[in-house]
């Protein structure tokens, strides 16, 4: 029954593209006890792509990944790998490999045994396995003498590398990552992000990565999908997601932003306080309610010499140093808090009341 559906799927010209996607999801749903953890996702992942799915916890991203890896099967919809339906193909028969959040290293084995595990499954000869394991260890920058080290005695970063080498030993077509870097400290995380990106480029394999961290997604991905409540709200390049978020959720998810609710009036837009708002001419919103999203770095102090399209007055009540930049929290007269970030050279000298503003071209208008 399902194979009929699969052939119907691959015959349909509506979904076929060139190059043909490695992984294709069509209306995939996963329901647990009446709750749809994944609620109708359609997605094409191209050969050699680095796709990151971001979303807050509980958005269904891990469930999605588990379905792709074969650890869960979808309640509805189709998942195809190179055109073949894999909905019910168990994880050990899929040419895919998942790097778990906990890494799931085998605690009773050495580093070498861990890496060789998939090779042992394939009955590769011991000397050959060892050779391959050492190659992979070099690739992920693990010292050779770690081969016979107890894996539980490795540090967090080293364990990460062992998990990566083990996944590569399986030689999968697609690698999945379930927030493997989330437990590491900032510096190590940054380093491993870059190394992962390098590995992706060198190996030419398709990577699907899951995280709740915007930064991680931005650094590594070719494309980012944003998930919310079981759905993909937006998918695009990091640049697209950053500069043209589909809605307020995406905009807010991608870091600290200022949100000004606006409503339509007489062909223009008004703020809550009744003042008109200048928006970019290419803005097209369907409803009557919308939000202006302004990133803190696009807000600035307004003076007589340097005006702005939109302004508001308030008082500074907090100042943070971000190193080369300064961030201020300004409370407006209506009680809203705005964030404004300026280079250290442009630090605010005065006291008390300030006027801040933004230009229409630097703001994003999203529906709702």
């Amino acid at each position: 029954m399902s194979s009929v559906a699969a052939s119907a799927l691959s015959d349909s010209s509506a979904v076929s593209k060139t190059p043909r996607p490695v992984l294709q999801l069509v209306d995939v749903r996963k329901v647990f006890d009446g709750f749809a953890a994944v609620d109708g996702i359609s997605l094409d992942i191209e050969e050699g792509e680095f796709v990151t799915i971001v979303g807050p916890s509980g958005s269904g991203k891990t469930t999605l990944l588990r379905m792709l890896a074969g650890l869960e099967s979808p309640s509805e919809g189709y998942i195809t790998l190179r055109g073949e339906l894999i909905n019910d193909v168990p994880s050990n028969r899929r040419p895919t490999c998942l790097v778990f959040q906990s890494l799931a290293l085998f605690p009773h084995m050495t580093v070498g045994d861990n890496i060789e595990f998939p090779l042992r499954v394939r009955k590769m000869a011991p000397e050959e396995r060892r050779k391959r394991a050492l190659e992979l260890m070099a690739k992920v920058r693990l010292p050779e003498d770690y081969y016979s080290k107890n894996v539980m005695l490795c540090s967090g970063g080293e364990k990460q590398r062992v998990a990566l080498a083990r996944a590569f030993a399986y030689d999968p077509d697609v690698l999945f990552f379930d927030e493997p870097l989330s437990a590491l400290d900032y510096k190590l995380k940054k380093l491993l992000e870059k190394e992962l990106k390098d590995l992706h480029r060198e190996s030419g394999k398709t990577f699907v990565y899951i995280t709740h961290s915007l930064e991680e997604a931005m650094v590594m991905s070719d494309r980012i999908g944003v998930m919310r409540a079981g759905k993909v709200v937006q998918i695009g390049t990091p640049e697209q997601i950053y500069s043209t978020p589909a809605d307020r959720f995406v905009a807010e998810f991608f870091g600290e932003v200022n949100v000004v609710p606006i409503r339509r009036a007489d062909g223009g837009w008004l703020r809550r306080d009744g003042k008109p708002v200048a928006v970019a001419p290419d803005v097209s919103i369907d409803g009557d309610e919308a939000s202006v999203v302004i990133r803190p770095e696009y807000m600035r102090f307004v003076t007589e010499e340097a005006g702005a399209d939109n302004t508001l007055t308030g008082t500074i009540f907090n100042e943070y140093s971000l190193g080369s930049r300064l961030q201020y929290q300004v409370r407006s007269r209506t009680g809203r808090t705005f964030l404004i970030e300026v280079p250290r050279a442009a630090a605010w000298k005065g006291n008390g009341e300030v006027t801040i503003g933004w230009d229409a071209g630097n703001a994003i208008v999203v529906g709702g």
Partner: protein, 272 residues
């Protein structure tokens, strides 16, 4: 001041340790000595020492049969109970299912049931089913009581086992059987070993269940008891001492084997 305190603490620790060792080993030593007495009756001080009773015990055909029975029962009980308990422990510690908690409680109940009553009840059952009690029925009786204990022991290990490891193994291409052999079992081995040890010792030393359900077949505890009640001979303490020494030898041997295995593994790792 402080050194005085520390010295006193050290003294107390040593005194306590000595007391515990004495409390445990004095009775055993007394038993051992009683077996070495030439006299027919259990009495201290011992007038004349002799290995006569040891020799008699060692040569006795009756004792041979007893030891055989006890070892056979304990071995069969160990194998079967570990098998049942392993899967039982996996079932309630590893997989969520309806009635899992009830199963856990029901499983615990026989442990708290007084053994003589359990033995009697089982004997009545065997009679009702027309099975005449032998050492085989004793195996069944032992299992009823020992499987729950071993299940608990193994479950402790299973609870700390991360099921993600099995998923990871499968994701790396391993079949269920391969995963069981290379991941699940090796990680659960310590629990299985302690379960097996418990099973053997509980069966080996069990008296009330054997009394009721072994029928005409005797086991070491059964024989010891009957001789204590009527017809004491110094073979009783001699046999008791022998089994203690055997257990000690087994433990030492097991420790030695483990030590050697570990050293071999370390050497191999260093060479590799």
């Amino acid at each position: 001041m402080q050194t005085v305190g520390r010295t006193r603490t050290h003294f107390l620790i040593r005194a306590w340790t000595a007391f515990v060792v004495l409390a445990i080993y004095l009775p055993i030593a007394c038993g051992a000595l009683a077996g070495l007495s030439k006299g027919r009756y259990f009495a201290f001080p011992i007038r004349i020492f002799s290995t006569e009773w040891w020799g008699k015990t060692w040569d006795s055909f009756e004792i041979h049969v007893l030891v055989q029975n006890s070892v056979l029962i304990a071995l069969i009980v160990t194998v079967l109970s570990v098998l049942f308990a392993f899967f039982g422990a996996l079932a309630f510690a590893r997989y969520p299912w309806k009635g899992r908690r009830a199963f856990q409680r029901l499983l615990l109940l026989p442990i708290f049931f007084p053994q003589p009553v359990l033995g009697l009840a089982l004997l009545l059952w065997f009679n009702a089913l027309g099975i005449s009690p032998t050492w085989k029925t004793a195996v069944v009786a032992h299992l009823v009581w020992i499987v729950p204990v071993v299940t608990l022991v193994i479950a402790i290990q299973v609870f700390s086992f991360d099921p993600v490891l099995e998923e990871a193994a499968s994701d790396l291409g391993a079949s269920r059987l391969f995963t069981l052999r290379t991941v699940t079992l090796p990680i659960l081995w310590p629990g299985i070993w302690s379960g097996a040890l418990f099973a053997f010792l509980l069966s080996w030393g069990n008296f009330p269940l054997s009394l009721y359900t072994a029928g005409a077949d005797s086991t070491i505890p059964k024989w010891l008891y009957s001789k204590m009640v009527a017809g004491y001979t110094p073979m009783v303490p001699a046999l008791g001492t022998m089994s203690t020494l055997t257990a000690a030898a087994l433990l030492l041997g097991g420790g030695l084997v483990r030590f050697l295995l570990r050293r071999r593994a370390e050497l191999r790792a260093r060479e590799g």
